[in-house]
Structure formats: C-alpha cells, structure tokens
Amino acid sequence: MMKRIALLGMPNTGKSTFFNRLTGAGARVGNWPGITVDLLSAKVLLAGNMVEMIDLPGIYNLHGFSDDEQVVRHFLESQAVNGLVVILNATQLDRQLALLLQLKTLRLPITLVLNMQDEAQQMGIKIDIPRLSQALGIEINMISAKYGQGFGKARAAIESLIHQQTTPIHADASAFGQDDNIEIMLDRIVSDTVSTPVTLPPDISRRLDKLLLHPILGLPLFFLTVFLLFQIVYGIGTPLQDGMGWLLDWFKVHLLTPALSNAPYAIKSFITEGVFDGIGTVLTFLPIIVIFFMFMAIIEDSGYLSRAAYLMDAVMAKVGLDGRSFVMQLMGMGCNVPALMGTRVMRSRALRLLTMLVIPFSLCSARLQVFLFFTTAIFAPRAAAAVMFSLYFMSFAMAFLTAFVWRGKYRSHEPLLLELPPYRFPTFKQLLTEGWQQSGHFLRGASGYIIAGVIIVWALTHYPFNVPPASATTLAGRLASWMEPIFQPLGIDSLLSIALLFGFIAKEIVVGALAVIYGAGQANLSGILAHQLDWVQAYSFMLFTLIYTPCVSTIAVLKQESKSWWFTILAVVWPLGLAWLVSFIFYQSARALGW
C-alpha cells in the first residue's frame, strides 16, 4: 500500500517551497474525489519507501469556512494518511501554533517544521525548541526553506514518522465537529517557549510600505509597477514567442511539407494545417507562460500582491472584485491565457470565477494586431488614435459591466482579511520551479482542447477538399450564409463572419484569414477592405472582435482552471451575446443617424 504524507500550514509560510525542495521537479496535479482545486502531489523515496506527498492549501483554521479550509477538511476526512507535516512560520508562532493545536486533535502522527529561521533570527525572536517540543509532544525542526538550511533533519523526521506509522490511518472524525478551546493553552505555551523583542526595529519592510502604500503616491506607484512588470514580461516573452513561431514555421515549410509531398491533399492539409497548427498554437504560449509565472512569483512572494489588494480595494470592491483581480486584468492585456492561470493566487472560488469572467475582455496583443490593421486601412491617421482609445475604453467598460452584472452570482463570502507579510525576495531556483510547473500544468490541462478546437475550425474551413479553403461552398461558408440573418443587422457580411470563425482559433490569424477569404495578398488587403467596408461596418466588426471569445486557448484554460463546464459555457455565451448586442446598438444607431 502506498504511504501517504500530507503537508499542512498557514498561507505565506513557505510551505510550497519546502514541498518543492522535498519532491524535486516531479510534482504533478492530482485529482481527488470531491475536491475542486488542484492539489500538488509527488512521489518521493523516503527511507526505502515510495511515499506520496500532498501539498494541501494553506489554511488559517481547521474549523474555518473558507473554500481552502473546506478542501483541507474534506481531504483529511476522506483520505487516510501515515502522518502530517505541519509547517509554521517561526516569526509568528504566537498565533500559528493555534493551527497545530487544532491539528493535534485529529490524533494523527505529526512532525513540526518551523520555517523562516533566518527571519526569526533577524527579528531577534528566540524559540526554546526542546521545551516547545516537550510541551507539544512533537518532534520539531527549524529550517530555512528558502536557503535549504536544516532540511536534512526535517526529512529524517518525516522518515521516522513513516517508520512509526507504517499503514495509513484516518483522522479522528470527532475532531472536525468539536469547537476548540485552545486559547489558554496557546498563550501558556507561547509565553513559556518563545521570547520576542518588545519593540521591533523599524525594518526595511515598514519603510517600503511607507512609500508603496502612501495615500497619494501609492496608487501611481502601483500602476507604474504593473506597467513595468507588463513591459518586462512581454518585452522578454513576445520575442521568445515570435522565435517559437519562426521555428515552427521553419519546421513546417522545410521538413513537414516536403515529407508529405506525395500524400493526398486532404491528408497533407489535415496534418499541416490541422494537427501541426494546433500543436503550434499550444507551443507558442509556452515561453510567455514561463516568463509570466516567474515574474508573478516575484510579485506574489514578495508580498506586493496583497498590497495591491489594499490599494485598489476601495474601487474594485464596488464591482465585487479586489485589487488582485485588477492586476490580472491588466496582465491580460498582453495575453489572456497566463492571466487566467494567474488568478490562482485568489483563494476564494467565487472571486476567482468572477475575475476569470472579466479577464477575456482585456484587449490582448493579438486583438491589437487586428485593430491596428483595420484602423490604418479604414480610418484617417488622426481618427485612428481615437478609435484605438475607444476600443481600450470599451474593453474596461465591458469588464466592469460584466463584474457588476455577475457579482451577485459569484459573491465572495470570504471577508477580505489579508495578511501583509514582510517583503521577501524569492530565489532564482524558486522562480524556475514555478515557471516549469505552470507550463507543465498548461500542457497537460489545456493542450488537448486547443488542438481539438484548431482541428474543428480546420475541418469547417477546408471541407469539402475540392473547393478553395474558406470559400462559400466549404462548411464554414455554408455556416456563414446560414448565420447571415444574425450578422447582417451588425453590418458584418458573410465573408467577415468567416474571419470571425478563424478568429476563434487565434486573433493573430484573422488578418491572414481575411487575405485568403478575399483572395488577395496581405499587401492588397487594406485597399480591398477600404473599398468594401465603410467605417461604420469596420468599427462594428472591431467591436464584435473585441468582445466575443478571445480564442480557443482561452476557453481551454477557462475550463482547466474552473473545472466546470457550466462556467466555461457561461464564459463563452455571455461575451458572445454582449458582443452581438453592443455591435447591434452601435451599427443600428450609427445608420439611424445617417452615417
């Protein structure tokens, strides 16, 4: 029987860092019955046994009602374990020990790890380990997960835990119902074993807070930080993405196409434009996901993300979101996919879902390409700037409207009581692990859906194979003429609506698709568009493109992150309806005004 150890602790205790160090890079997301969040688990060889380590979400209280607390309780109620590793922050023992005392009532073997040894030393906090260990009846090890100090002993303690309890057992179920009365015990143990300096030296964290949380300067500095973060992430990520695109293209043109030169047209097209382009779509996201998560880890682990929540709360609370939602919304202007994955920092499921509903309205760089092409083709240079501005405005307006409408359905019941931890700097190794894990997660969770989506659109635009792709007699062409009554009131003709279908794969290919549909080279396309469309039609098309589903990858990630088909369907249907309504109102009023 597989041995199993669960890792538990409060948020911000370096639990995940400890987990990563213990398990190496082999961690993966596991599915547990009845649990809607991802739990990382990994198999580790400990004292000659294969042991499954599970990283449970950080919780403040065993009896709490937050989503994470319920997940942990559900896990401990339903799964047998050989023991628990509880990790606590040595600088905050005065309150964190409460969690350990609660966990003790489960009557499971426990070993305690005190993290942030270095910070405790810096703050002048002294802990009498032997005495604390005796008072609790639990083995204790001090570590610094960040620098790897004391790690060997903590590992040995887990091994002795397994020797002591050789078969997995269930927690004492009566502990979940009982209301704890541990206050007195907690205060006694803490005052006996922990000595802290009376006043803290005015450390750097507070001086930084004075500046970064300043009543007037705080918000501008926050916007500046997000702007710089954005510039760095996409400044590094976009060229890497382009490089990946170039490599894929090279592979397709020089290796794949010649290799298939003797194959029948349908097979050749299926492999190069269906399967290969699908895989290519997945791969081009990878560089940006790695970079994004490396930098998000800096922002999150440094403690600045909870400061962002503090700064933006007054505004965001009105539409049911918080400051962290706003950061993700801004990051979504580069690419929606990593921004959606980034919502994992929000621990309340309702808040997370509402944020995920809002992010796809962020005008991402792929949509920007379409808009730049259209505005230069159709509008005078002076009007073009105003048009672009209006689209960004619409992007925010739709996001806030959506949050406002759905805030009742996705109301977060968790009070916004957040810890503002001291500023910290993650090590480079931590950043690499984070980027690596998230890419793996994206590949496993979303790639199948993305490839399937690309193949479906390929089939629609290429079948039957004896006519030119995307022409009126293909499935897509027939679909477009069938949908004409829907799109005609928006001023979007059937040729443009085929382009919208392509835009479903990725907005980057809309302009290229239009060139194919109009049977023109990209160079002549602007002339043709300017000739065929007036500005009202063009703007209506842009509004629709802005608001409807960004791309198949976004949908795949919405499904992967929400683990709910209902939510995914809502996140597709709502923007589609909104896109239609906004384009309709715009087009019909513009025409009514005689434009």
Partner: protein, 77 residues
C-alpha cells in the same frame, strides 16, 4: 474609553475589548491574531474610504472598514 477599530487614527493603538462579527468571521480574525485582550495598532488607512492596515504583534493585516467596525476597542490612556 471605548470605540471601534474603524475609528482609530493611524499610529493609534488600543486593546481589543469585544468582537461582534459572527462565528465565521470571529474565527478567522482569531486565526490571524485578532483576539480579545490583544493590542492592535492602526498603521495607515487607504484613501477613498479604503481598508485599514493594522498590526497585531508581528503580524500586519489589511481589514475593510465594515469589518473593523465589528471590533470594539479600549483605548490606551
């Protein structure tokens, strides 16, 4: 003198005298160190009637005004 936490000015401290926040929120506050008899300091307040930054022992927290109003404070003389 008695008041509620949301009425404290930055740099002002007080002792938590009572928490009137319902079982769930009280539990959460407790886990974060907001317990009866503890000293709490308001560090700063966000503009536009935003949340408060408070300090209890070594822990710093943000708390919304509405939630802070549920914490009764005895002011240090």
């Amino acid at each position: 003198m008695h008041t509620t936490l949301d009425h404290l000015q930055p740099n002002q401290t007080g002792i938590i005298a009572a928490i009137d926040a319902g079982a769930e929120l009280t539990r959460r506050m407790c886990a974060l160190g907001l317990r009866l008899g503890r000293m709490v300091e308001v560090v700063r307040i966000a503009p536009m009637r935003g949340p408060l930054q408070i300090r209890i022992g070594h822990t710093e927290l943000m708390i919304r005004r509405a939630d802070a109003a549920k914490i009764n404070i005895t002011l240090n003389s």
